[in-house]
Symmetry: C2
Subunit: 125 residues, 2 copies
């Protein structure tokens, strides 16, 4: 049975949604998990004065563990610098949520997503 | 992007829930997808007079395609005999929902689930 932290994020996901991609201060990451074919979109809004993440949104069609991993990640990165957020490892997320080994790829989707959003922001700026 | 039928079932899943397992006229299937680690529970209520499925419920922690596959399956099997329901193939489900090849294993979860529920019912009766 699933850990209560996973169920909490699954039933009550934080920061679900979308931002307009057009704006220069928004970075968009769109990634897929080869293991299961699921996809995830994460967007960050960045304060260019200090490279800090001021807002973050995600959307996924992935499983409960993917929803929980992304929801937890969005709470984690809000207020972080891009450098700090880029250093987050999926293993931290999996540990916090007590994900079983077979669901590690779901937390990988969250790590890949934030990295992809950061690199999209840098590309635009 | 996902087919509108998948989105419809995902946003509005039919027959989500649980029945008491104890009753003799209820068969419970609990199956997992090796490809992604997701799990699914399907329960059927059977009229023993004519071996017909009178009610069905499912629960899954799986992805959007798994939710849609199960939701569609529950609509399909209601009113079927056990024999008819046992002949449903995941390819029918995948075709109806226009699932991409990488998500075929999600529809397999639904086929495995109903078979497992049927065999559980037979075991009890
Ligand atoms: S099984 Fe695909 S993201 Fe979890």
């Amino acid at each position: 049975s699933y850990h209560e932290k996973v169920l909490d994020h699954y039933n009550n996901p934080r920061n679900v949604g979308s931002m307009g991609k057009g704006s220069d201060d928004v970075g968009t990451g769109l990634v897929g998990a080869p293991a299961c074919g699921d996809v995830m979109k994460i967007q960050i809004k960045v304060d260019p004065q200090n490279d800090t993440i001021t807002d973050v949104k995600f959307k996924t069609f992935g499983c409960g563990s993917a929803i929980a991993s992304s929801s937890y990640l969005t709470e984690l990165v809000k207020g972080m610098t891009l450098e700090q957020a880029g250093r987050i490892r999926n293993t931290e997320i999996a540990k916090e949520l007590c994900l079983p080994p077979v669901k590690l790829h779901c937390s990988m989707l969250a790590e890949d997503g934030i990295k992809s959003a950061i690199s999209n922001y840098y590309k635009k700026n």
